[in-house]
Protein backbone atom coordinates (compact mmCIF):
# COMPACT_ATOMS: atom_id res chain seq x y z
CA UNK A 1 0.00 0.00 0.00
CA UNK A 2 2.64 2.50 1.11
CA UNK A 3 5.04 1.68 -1.75
CA UNK A 4 2.19 1.64 -4.27
CA UNK A 5 1.23 5.16 -3.19
CA UNK A 6 4.76 6.48 -3.62
CA UNK A 7 5.25 4.84 -7.03
CA UNK A 8 1.94 6.16 -8.35
CA UNK A 9 2.66 9.63 -7.00
CA UNK A 10 6.11 9.58 -8.61
CA UNK A 11 4.64 8.46 -11.93
CA UNK A 12 2.23 11.39 -11.76
CA UNK A 13 5.07 13.73 -10.86
CA UNK A 14 7.01 12.74 -14.00
CA UNK A 15 4.29 12.00 -16.54
CA UNK A 16 1.74 14.71 -15.72
CA UNK A 17 3.75 17.68 -17.08
CA UNK A 18 4.50 15.73 -20.27
CA UNK A 19 0.87 14.74 -20.83
CA UNK A 20 -0.41 18.11 -19.63
CA UNK A 21 1.87 19.97 -22.03
CA UNK A 22 0.78 17.75 -24.90
CA UNK A 23 -2.89 18.27 -23.98
CA UNK A 24 -2.32 22.01 -23.93
CA UNK A 25 -0.64 21.80 -27.33
CA UNK A 26 -3.49 19.72 -28.70
CA UNK A 27 -5.90 22.30 -27.38
CA UNK A 28 -4.11 25.06 -29.29
CA UNK A 29 -3.95 22.93 -32.42
CA UNK A 30 -7.67 22.09 -32.24
CA UNK A 31 -8.51 25.75 -31.69
CA UNK A 32 -6.40 26.75 -34.71
CA UNK A 33 -8.03 24.12 -36.92
CA UNK A 34 -11.48 25.23 -35.79
CA UNK A 35 -10.58 28.75 -36.90
CA UNK A 36 -9.23 27.53 -40.26
CA UNK A 37 -5.57 28.03 -39.34
CA UNK A 38 -2.66 25.63 -39.41
CA UNK A 39 -1.78 26.24 -35.80
CA UNK A 40 1.41 25.74 -33.78
CA UNK A 41 3.21 22.40 -33.43
CA UNK A 42 1.82 20.14 -30.74
CA UNK A 43 4.90 20.59 -28.52
CA UNK A 44 4.63 24.39 -28.66
CA UNK A 45 3.83 24.67 -24.90
CA UNK A 46 7.20 23.07 -24.14
CA UNK A 47 8.94 25.62 -26.34
CA UNK A 48 7.08 28.36 -24.50
CA UNK A 49 8.01 27.14 -21.04
CA UNK A 50 11.61 26.52 -22.11
CA UNK A 51 11.82 30.08 -23.34
CA UNK A 52 10.23 31.48 -20.18
CA UNK A 53 12.74 29.58 -18.04
CA UNK A 54 15.60 31.15 -20.01
CA UNK A 55 14.26 34.68 -19.74
CA UNK A 56 15.05 37.22 -17.11
CA UNK A 57 12.57 37.15 -14.25
CA UNK A 58 11.38 40.55 -13.15
CA UNK A 59 9.74 40.48 -9.76
CA UNK A 60 7.43 43.19 -8.50
CA UNK A 61 7.31 41.99 -4.93
CA UNK A 62 9.63 39.28 -3.67
CA UNK A 63 6.85 37.43 -1.83
CA UNK A 64 5.37 36.77 -5.27
CA UNK A 65 8.02 34.07 -5.81
CA UNK A 66 6.97 32.31 -2.61
CA UNK A 67 3.30 32.32 -3.59
CA UNK A 68 3.90 31.16 -7.16
CA UNK A 69 6.20 28.36 -6.02
CA UNK A 70 3.63 27.49 -3.36
CA UNK A 71 0.96 27.32 -6.04
CA UNK A 72 3.07 24.86 -8.05
CA UNK A 73 3.92 22.75 -5.01
CA UNK A 74 0.33 22.61 -3.73
CA UNK A 75 -0.99 21.67 -7.19
CA UNK A 76 1.59 18.90 -7.50
CA UNK A 77 0.79 17.74 -3.97
CA UNK A 78 -2.93 17.65 -4.79
CA UNK A 79 -2.31 15.58 -7.91
CA UNK A 80 0.04 13.18 -6.12
CA UNK A 81 -2.61 12.69 -3.43
CA UNK A 82 -5.27 11.93 -6.02
CA UNK A 83 -3.26 9.64 -8.27
CA UNK A 84 -1.62 7.94 -5.29
CA UNK A 85 -5.09 6.95 -4.09
CA UNK A 86 -5.61 9.42 -1.26
CA UNK A 87 -8.65 11.06 0.26
CA UNK A 88 -10.99 12.78 -2.22
CA UNK A 89 -11.99 15.48 0.30
CA UNK A 90 -8.37 16.30 1.07
CA UNK A 91 -7.67 16.51 -2.66
CA UNK A 92 -10.29 19.18 -3.13
CA UNK A 93 -9.30 21.15 -0.05
CA UNK A 94 -5.65 21.12 -1.12
CA UNK A 95 -6.78 22.25 -4.56
CA UNK A 96 -8.53 25.28 -3.06
CA UNK A 97 -5.36 26.02 -1.13
CA UNK A 98 -3.31 26.07 -4.33
CA UNK A 99 -5.83 28.42 -5.96
CA UNK A 100 -5.71 30.72 -2.96
CA UNK A 101 -1.91 30.88 -3.23
CA UNK A 102 -2.22 31.90 -6.88
CA UNK A 103 -4.71 34.62 -5.95
CA UNK A 104 -2.34 35.83 -3.23
CA UNK A 105 0.50 35.97 -5.77
CA UNK A 106 -1.62 38.22 -7.96
CA UNK A 107 -2.76 40.40 -5.04
CA UNK A 108 0.81 40.82 -3.78
CA UNK A 109 1.93 42.60 -6.96
CA UNK A 110 -0.34 45.61 -6.33
CA UNK A 111 -0.85 46.00 -10.09
CA UNK A 112 -4.39 47.05 -11.09
CA UNK A 113 -4.77 44.29 -13.68
CA UNK A 114 -3.40 41.61 -11.38
CA UNK A 115 -5.70 42.68 -8.56
CA UNK A 116 -8.72 42.72 -10.85
CA UNK A 117 -7.73 39.27 -12.08
CA UNK A 118 -7.35 38.04 -8.51
CA UNK A 119 -10.77 39.35 -7.53
CA UNK A 120 -12.35 37.65 -10.52
CA UNK A 121 -10.47 34.46 -9.70
CA UNK A 122 -12.07 34.56 -6.24
CA UNK A 123 -15.48 34.90 -7.91
CA UNK A 124 -14.68 31.94 -10.14
CA UNK A 125 -13.70 29.92 -7.09
CA UNK A 126 -17.03 30.82 -5.55
CA UNK A 127 -18.70 29.39 -8.67
CA UNK A 128 -16.91 26.05 -8.86
CA UNK A 129 -16.04 25.24 -5.24
CA UNK A 130 -19.56 23.94 -4.39
CA UNK A 131 -19.37 21.52 -7.29
CA UNK A 132 -15.94 20.14 -6.43
CA UNK A 133 -17.13 19.46 -2.89
CA UNK A 134 -20.32 17.89 -4.21
CA UNK A 135 -18.27 15.56 -6.42
CA UNK A 136 -16.47 14.22 -3.35
CA UNK A 137 -19.79 13.80 -1.55
CA UNK A 138 -21.34 12.18 -4.62
CA UNK A 139 -18.58 9.58 -4.82
CA UNK A 140 -19.10 8.86 -1.14
CA UNK A 141 -22.83 8.32 -1.67
CA UNK A 142 -22.21 6.10 -4.70
CA UNK A 143 -19.34 3.95 -3.44
CA UNK A 144 -19.28 4.48 0.29
CA UNK A 145 -15.74 5.80 0.54
CA UNK A 146 -13.74 8.99 0.14
CA UNK A 147 -10.53 7.12 -0.66
CA UNK A 148 -9.57 7.10 -4.34
CA UNK A 149 -7.90 3.71 -3.88
CA UNK A 150 -11.31 2.26 -2.86
CA UNK A 151 -13.24 4.14 -5.54
CA UNK A 152 -11.24 2.59 -8.39
CA UNK A 153 -12.22 -0.89 -7.13
CA UNK A 154 -15.94 -0.21 -7.63
CA UNK A 155 -18.14 -2.86 -9.24
CA UNK A 156 -20.19 -0.47 -11.37
CA UNK A 157 -18.94 2.83 -12.84
CA UNK A 158 -19.93 5.85 -10.79
CA UNK A 159 -21.45 7.55 -13.81
CA UNK A 160 -24.50 5.24 -13.52
CA UNK A 161 -25.38 6.72 -10.16
CA UNK A 162 -23.90 10.19 -10.69
CA UNK A 163 -24.83 11.43 -14.19
CA UNK A 164 -25.93 14.80 -12.81
CA UNK A 165 -22.65 15.20 -10.94
CA UNK A 166 -20.77 14.40 -14.13
CA UNK A 167 -22.62 17.10 -16.11
CA UNK A 168 -22.06 19.60 -13.32
CA UNK A 169 -18.37 18.73 -13.10
CA UNK A 170 -17.83 19.00 -16.86
CA UNK A 171 -19.56 22.36 -16.68
CA UNK A 172 -17.27 23.75 -13.99
CA UNK A 173 -14.29 22.38 -15.90
CA UNK A 174 -14.87 25.27 -18.30
CA UNK A 175 -13.93 27.59 -15.44
CA UNK A 176 -11.16 25.36 -14.13
CA UNK A 177 -9.45 25.02 -17.52
CA UNK A 178 -9.89 28.76 -18.19
CA UNK A 179 -12.09 28.29 -21.23
CA UNK A 180 -13.92 31.03 -23.02
CA UNK A 181 -17.34 31.81 -21.62
CA UNK A 182 -15.91 31.84 -18.10
CA UNK A 183 -12.27 32.89 -18.57
CA UNK A 184 -12.79 36.04 -16.55
CA UNK A 185 -9.61 36.10 -14.51
CA UNK A 186 -7.12 35.17 -17.20
CA UNK A 187 -7.20 33.50 -20.57
CA UNK A 188 -4.92 31.78 -23.03
CA UNK A 189 -5.81 34.21 -25.78
CA UNK A 190 -4.77 37.74 -26.58
CA UNK A 191 -6.82 40.89 -26.12
CA UNK A 192 -8.15 40.29 -22.70
CA UNK A 193 -9.83 43.47 -21.47
CA UNK A 194 -7.39 43.48 -18.54
CA UNK A 195 -4.23 42.36 -20.32
CA UNK A 196 -3.54 38.93 -18.79
CA UNK A 197 -5.42 39.23 -15.52
CA UNK A 198 -3.91 37.00 -12.84
CA UNK A 199 -0.56 36.52 -14.54
CA UNK A 200 -0.04 40.09 -15.78
CA UNK A 201 2.81 40.86 -13.41
CA UNK A 202 4.50 37.47 -13.58
CA UNK A 203 7.41 37.02 -15.95
CA UNK A 204 10.19 34.60 -16.77
CA UNK A 205 10.44 31.54 -14.56
CA UNK A 206 7.49 32.61 -12.40
CA UNK A 207 5.20 32.47 -15.42
CA UNK A 208 6.76 29.15 -16.42
CA UNK A 209 5.89 27.75 -12.97
CA UNK A 210 2.29 28.86 -13.41
CA UNK A 211 2.15 27.17 -16.82
CA UNK A 212 3.60 23.93 -15.43
CA UNK A 213 1.18 24.04 -12.50
CA UNK A 214 -1.67 24.39 -14.98
CA UNK A 215 -0.48 21.27 -16.81
CA UNK A 216 -0.53 19.34 -13.54
CA UNK A 217 -3.94 20.78 -12.78
CA UNK A 218 -5.33 19.78 -16.19
CA UNK A 219 -4.18 16.20 -15.70
CA UNK A 220 -5.71 16.13 -12.22
CA UNK A 221 -9.03 17.39 -13.57
CA UNK A 222 -8.96 14.84 -16.40
CA UNK A 223 -8.21 12.17 -13.79
CA UNK A 224 -11.34 13.15 -11.89
CA UNK A 225 -13.35 12.92 -15.14
CA UNK A 226 -11.91 9.42 -15.62
CA UNK A 227 -12.92 8.49 -12.05
CA UNK A 228 -16.56 8.54 -13.12
CA UNK A 229 -15.92 5.59 -15.45
CA UNK A 230 -13.28 3.49 -13.70
CA UNK A 231 -14.23 0.18 -12.11
CA UNK A 232 -12.29 -2.88 -10.95
CA UNK A 233 -12.48 -4.15 -14.54
CA UNK A 234 -9.32 -3.12 -16.48
CA UNK A 235 -11.30 -2.46 -19.70
CA UNK A 236 -13.07 0.40 -17.90
CA UNK A 237 -9.79 2.32 -18.09
CA UNK A 238 -10.17 2.45 -21.87
CA UNK A 239 -13.64 3.92 -21.43
CA UNK A 240 -12.23 6.44 -18.98
CA UNK A 241 -9.60 7.56 -21.51
CA UNK A 242 -12.21 7.87 -24.26
CA UNK A 243 -14.39 9.92 -21.92
CA UNK A 244 -11.43 12.19 -21.11
CA UNK A 245 -10.71 12.78 -24.80
CA UNK A 246 -14.37 13.55 -25.52
CA UNK A 247 -14.65 15.93 -22.56
CA UNK A 248 -11.44 17.72 -23.50
CA UNK A 249 -12.63 18.13 -27.08
CA UNK A 250 -15.97 19.52 -25.89
CA UNK A 251 -14.17 22.02 -23.66
CA UNK A 252 -12.08 23.26 -26.63
CA UNK A 253 -15.21 23.48 -28.77
CA UNK A 254 -17.03 25.53 -26.11
CA UNK A 255 -13.95 27.74 -25.81
CA UNK A 256 -14.13 28.58 -29.50
CA UNK A 257 -17.90 29.01 -29.74
CA UNK A 258 -18.82 31.28 -26.86
CA UNK A 259 -17.77 34.83 -26.05
CA UNK A 260 -16.84 35.81 -22.50
CA UNK A 261 -19.72 36.56 -20.13
CA UNK A 262 -20.04 38.89 -17.16
CA UNK A 263 -19.31 37.50 -13.71
CA UNK A 264 -22.94 37.75 -12.61
CA UNK A 265 -24.03 35.58 -15.56
CA UNK A 266 -21.30 33.09 -14.72
CA UNK A 267 -22.47 32.94 -11.11
CA UNK A 268 -26.12 32.45 -12.05
CA UNK A 269 -25.51 29.90 -14.79
CA UNK A 270 -22.96 27.83 -12.87
CA UNK A 271 -24.98 27.67 -9.69
CA UNK A 272 -28.16 26.92 -11.64
CA UNK A 273 -26.47 24.03 -13.45
CA UNK A 274 -24.98 22.72 -10.21
CA UNK A 275 -28.31 22.97 -8.40
CA UNK A 276 -30.39 21.43 -11.18
CA UNK A 277 -28.10 18.56 -12.17
CA UNK A 278 -25.95 17.76 -9.13
CA UNK A 279 -28.58 18.84 -6.58
CA UNK A 280 -31.32 16.71 -8.14
CA UNK A 281 -28.93 13.81 -8.49
CA UNK A 282 -27.99 14.08 -4.82
CA UNK A 283 -31.68 14.20 -3.80
CA UNK A 284 -32.52 11.08 -5.83
CA UNK A 285 -29.51 9.24 -4.39
CA UNK A 286 -30.67 10.26 -0.92
CA UNK A 287 -34.17 8.91 -1.52
CA UNK A 288 -33.00 5.65 -3.07
CA UNK A 289 -30.46 4.77 -0.35
Amino acid sequence: MEYGFIIKALLYLILAPLLGGLLSGTDRLFAARMQGRQGPPIIQPFYDVNKLLHKQTTVVNSIQILFVTGYLIMTVFTGCLFFGGGDMLLVFFALSMSEVLMVMAAFSTNGPYSIMGAQRELLQMMCYEPMTLLVAIGFYYAQGSFMVSDLVKAEAPAIIQLPGFFIGFVFILIIKLRKSPFDLSTSHHMHQEMVKGLTTDLSGSNLAFVEIAEWYDTILMMGIVGMFFITANPISRVWAIIAIIVVFFIETLIDNIFPRVKYITMLKVTWAVILVFAGTNLLILNVLK
Partner: protein, 225 residues
Protein backbone atom coordinates in the same frame (compact mmCIF):
# COMPACT_ATOMS: atom_id res chain seq x y z
CA UNK B 1 15.99 23.80 -27.33
CA UNK B 2 16.10 27.18 -28.94
CA UNK B 3 14.30 30.03 -27.22
CA UNK B 4 13.48 31.49 -30.64
CA UNK B 5 10.74 28.87 -31.05
CA UNK B 6 8.21 30.92 -29.12
CA UNK B 7 8.54 34.64 -29.70
CA UNK B 8 5.75 36.48 -27.98
CA UNK B 9 4.97 39.81 -29.53
CA UNK B 10 3.92 43.13 -28.08
CA UNK B 11 2.49 45.63 -30.53
CA UNK B 12 2.46 49.35 -29.80
CA UNK B 13 1.16 52.11 -32.02
CA UNK B 14 3.19 55.31 -31.60
CA UNK B 15 1.20 57.80 -33.71
CA UNK B 16 0.69 55.50 -36.68
CA UNK B 17 -2.04 56.10 -39.28
CA UNK B 18 -3.29 52.55 -38.44
CA UNK B 19 -2.25 51.21 -41.83
CA UNK B 20 0.66 49.25 -40.37
CA UNK B 21 -1.41 48.22 -37.34
CA UNK B 22 -3.95 46.60 -39.59
CA UNK B 23 -1.16 44.72 -41.34
CA UNK B 24 0.31 43.63 -38.02
CA UNK B 25 -3.04 42.19 -37.04
CA UNK B 26 -3.43 40.68 -40.52
CA UNK B 27 -0.45 38.44 -39.80
CA UNK B 28 -2.50 36.80 -37.02
CA UNK B 29 -5.35 35.89 -39.37
CA UNK B 30 -5.79 32.44 -40.96
CA UNK B 31 -4.22 33.75 -44.19
CA UNK B 32 -0.76 34.29 -42.69
CA UNK B 33 -1.23 32.54 -39.33
CA UNK B 34 1.98 33.44 -37.51
CA UNK B 35 0.93 31.24 -34.59
CA UNK B 36 2.35 28.31 -36.55
CA UNK B 37 5.78 29.74 -35.64
CA UNK B 38 4.69 30.01 -32.03
CA UNK B 39 4.18 33.76 -32.28
CA UNK B 40 1.50 35.04 -29.92
CA UNK B 41 0.30 38.61 -29.67
CA UNK B 42 0.46 39.28 -25.94
CA UNK B 43 -0.83 42.60 -24.74
CA UNK B 44 1.64 42.44 -21.91
CA UNK B 45 5.21 43.81 -21.95
CA UNK B 46 6.23 41.48 -19.12
CA UNK B 47 5.49 38.43 -21.26
CA UNK B 48 6.81 39.80 -24.55
CA UNK B 49 10.08 39.07 -26.37
CA UNK B 50 9.54 41.17 -29.49
CA UNK B 51 8.34 44.76 -29.46
CA UNK B 52 6.62 45.78 -32.71
CA UNK B 53 6.50 49.54 -33.09
CA UNK B 54 4.42 51.23 -35.76
CA UNK B 55 4.37 54.92 -36.63
CA UNK B 56 6.73 57.76 -35.84
CA UNK B 57 7.42 58.68 -32.26
CA UNK B 58 6.01 61.89 -30.87
CA UNK B 59 6.46 63.62 -27.53
CA UNK B 60 3.46 61.87 -26.02
CA UNK B 61 4.31 58.32 -27.05
CA UNK B 62 8.07 58.52 -26.43
CA UNK B 63 7.82 57.92 -22.65
CA UNK B 64 5.30 55.12 -23.23
CA UNK B 65 7.58 53.34 -25.70
CA UNK B 66 10.48 53.77 -23.31
CA UNK B 67 8.46 52.32 -20.43
CA UNK B 68 7.23 49.37 -22.49
CA UNK B 69 10.81 48.63 -23.54
CA UNK B 70 12.04 48.82 -19.97
CA UNK B 71 9.27 46.56 -18.71
CA UNK B 72 10.12 43.78 -21.12
CA UNK B 73 12.39 41.16 -19.55
CA UNK B 74 15.69 40.38 -21.30
CA UNK B 75 16.47 39.07 -23.89
CA UNK B 76 14.28 41.27 -26.08
CA UNK B 77 14.30 42.66 -29.61
CA UNK B 78 12.61 45.66 -31.19
CA UNK B 79 11.19 45.69 -34.71
CA UNK B 80 10.27 48.99 -36.36
CA UNK B 81 7.31 48.23 -38.66
CA UNK B 82 6.74 50.56 -41.57
CA UNK B 83 8.68 53.50 -42.86
CA UNK B 84 7.30 55.87 -40.20
CA UNK B 85 8.70 53.72 -37.41
CA UNK B 86 11.99 53.45 -39.31
CA UNK B 87 12.71 57.17 -39.66
CA UNK B 88 9.50 59.18 -39.40
CA UNK B 89 8.47 58.61 -43.01
CA UNK B 90 6.03 61.07 -44.49
CA UNK B 91 5.56 62.76 -41.11
CA UNK B 92 9.29 63.28 -40.62
CA UNK B 93 9.16 67.08 -40.80
CA UNK B 94 6.05 67.50 -38.66
CA UNK B 95 6.64 69.72 -35.66
CA UNK B 96 5.53 67.03 -33.21
CA UNK B 97 7.37 64.02 -34.65
CA UNK B 98 10.73 63.22 -33.10
CA UNK B 99 11.58 60.68 -35.78
CA UNK B 100 11.73 56.91 -35.97
CA UNK B 101 11.48 54.45 -33.12
CA UNK B 102 15.28 54.47 -32.77
CA UNK B 103 15.08 57.92 -31.19
CA UNK B 104 13.80 56.35 -27.99
CA UNK B 105 14.72 52.66 -27.98
CA UNK B 106 17.45 50.66 -29.72
CA UNK B 107 15.86 49.09 -32.81
CA UNK B 108 17.14 45.73 -34.04
CA UNK B 109 15.26 45.27 -37.30
CA UNK B 110 13.86 47.92 -39.62
CA UNK B 111 10.99 46.74 -41.85
CA UNK B 112 10.13 49.45 -44.38
CA UNK B 113 6.92 49.79 -46.38
CA UNK B 114 3.85 52.00 -46.44
CA UNK B 115 1.95 50.17 -45.22
CA UNK B 116 4.30 47.35 -44.35
CA UNK B 117 3.40 44.09 -46.16
CA UNK B 118 2.53 41.18 -43.88
CA UNK B 119 5.10 39.01 -45.68
CA UNK B 120 7.83 41.59 -45.02
CA UNK B 121 6.67 41.86 -41.43
CA UNK B 122 6.88 38.11 -40.90
CA UNK B 123 10.38 38.07 -42.35
CA UNK B 124 11.37 40.97 -40.12
CA UNK B 125 10.10 39.21 -37.01
CA UNK B 126 11.87 35.99 -38.03
CA UNK B 127 15.13 37.94 -38.41
CA UNK B 128 14.59 39.62 -35.06
CA UNK B 129 13.94 36.27 -33.45
CA UNK B 130 17.29 35.08 -34.76
CA UNK B 131 18.89 37.80 -32.63
CA UNK B 132 17.13 36.58 -29.47
CA UNK B 133 19.38 33.57 -29.03
CA UNK B 134 22.49 35.74 -29.43
CA UNK B 135 21.14 38.21 -26.92
CA UNK B 136 20.43 35.45 -24.45
CA UNK B 137 24.07 34.38 -24.54
CA UNK B 138 25.17 37.99 -24.02
CA UNK B 139 22.76 38.33 -21.14
CA UNK B 140 24.18 35.19 -19.53
CA UNK B 141 27.68 36.62 -19.80
CA UNK B 142 26.70 39.99 -18.43
CA UNK B 143 24.84 38.39 -15.52
CA UNK B 144 27.97 36.40 -14.68
CA UNK B 145 29.93 39.64 -14.51
CA UNK B 146 27.44 41.10 -12.12
CA UNK B 147 25.24 43.39 -14.12
CA UNK B 148 22.16 43.17 -16.22
CA UNK B 149 22.07 44.65 -19.70
CA UNK B 150 19.08 46.83 -18.84
CA UNK B 151 19.32 49.57 -16.25
CA UNK B 152 16.08 49.27 -14.30
CA UNK B 153 16.98 52.15 -12.01
CA UNK B 154 16.01 54.37 -14.91
CA UNK B 155 12.51 52.93 -15.14
CA UNK B 156 10.79 55.66 -13.18
CA UNK B 157 12.25 58.43 -15.30
CA UNK B 158 10.44 60.06 -18.23
CA UNK B 159 7.11 58.58 -17.24
CA UNK B 160 5.10 61.73 -18.00
CA UNK B 161 5.21 64.16 -20.87
CA UNK B 162 6.49 66.89 -18.54
CA UNK B 163 9.62 64.92 -17.77
CA UNK B 164 10.36 64.49 -21.41
CA UNK B 165 13.57 66.05 -22.71
CA UNK B 166 14.64 64.88 -26.17
CA UNK B 167 18.29 65.66 -25.50
CA UNK B 168 18.71 62.96 -22.86
CA UNK B 169 16.25 60.37 -24.16
CA UNK B 170 18.49 57.81 -25.70
CA UNK B 171 21.13 57.41 -23.04
CA UNK B 172 18.65 56.20 -20.41
CA UNK B 173 18.71 52.85 -22.16
CA UNK B 174 22.35 52.13 -21.68
CA UNK B 175 24.44 50.32 -24.23
CA UNK B 176 26.28 47.11 -23.51
CA UNK B 177 29.65 48.90 -23.40
CA UNK B 178 28.45 51.61 -21.04
CA UNK B 179 27.13 49.00 -18.63
CA UNK B 180 30.37 47.06 -18.82
CA UNK B 181 32.27 50.22 -17.99
CA UNK B 182 29.98 50.97 -15.10
CA UNK B 183 30.40 47.45 -13.76
CA UNK B 184 34.17 47.71 -14.01
CA UNK B 185 34.14 51.04 -12.22
CA UNK B 186 31.98 49.55 -9.50
CA UNK B 187 34.33 46.62 -9.11
CA UNK B 188 37.31 49.00 -8.90
CA UNK B 189 35.51 51.17 -6.36
CA UNK B 190 34.58 48.19 -4.21
CA UNK B 191 38.10 46.73 -4.43
CA UNK B 192 39.89 49.89 -3.27
CA UNK B 193 38.55 50.29 0.27
CA UNK B 194 39.91 46.88 1.30
CA UNK B 195 43.56 48.07 1.47
CA UNK B 196 43.38 51.49 3.19
CA UNK B 197 40.83 51.47 5.98
CA UNK B 198 40.66 55.18 6.75
CA UNK B 199 40.33 56.58 3.26
CA UNK B 200 36.87 55.31 2.26
CA UNK B 201 35.28 56.98 5.27
CA UNK B 202 36.59 60.31 4.06
CA UNK B 203 35.46 59.50 0.55
CA UNK B 204 32.01 58.49 1.71
CA UNK B 205 31.64 61.68 3.71
CA UNK B 206 32.83 63.78 0.82
CA UNK B 207 30.85 62.03 -1.86
CA UNK B 208 27.30 63.03 -0.93
CA UNK B 209 28.20 66.72 -0.74
CA UNK B 210 28.73 67.51 -4.41
CA UNK B 211 25.73 65.39 -5.34
CA UNK B 212 23.46 67.12 -2.86
CA UNK B 213 24.66 70.69 -3.36
CA UNK B 214 24.06 71.38 -7.07
CA UNK B 215 21.02 69.07 -7.52
CA UNK B 216 21.15 70.07 -11.16
CA UNK B 217 20.03 67.95 -14.12
CA UNK B 218 23.68 67.64 -15.13
CA UNK B 219 24.53 65.74 -11.96
CA UNK B 220 21.37 63.66 -12.24
CA UNK B 221 22.31 62.53 -15.68
CA UNK B 222 25.81 61.52 -14.65
CA UNK B 223 25.29 59.45 -11.50
CA UNK B 224 23.38 56.46 -12.69
CA UNK B 225 26.00 54.04 -11.35
Amino acid sequence: MNIAKSPWVLHYDGSSCNGCDIEVLATMTPMYDVERFGIINTGNPKHADVLLLTGGINAQTAPVVRQLYNMMPDPKVVVACGICACDGGIFKDCYNILGGADKVVPVDVYVPGCAVRPEALIEGVVKAVGLLEEKRKKLKESLKQGYCSVDYSKMAIHMTADDYDPSNQYDAVLTEEALRQQAEEKIKASAKPAAPAAKPAVNAAAAPKPAAAPAAPVAEKGDNA
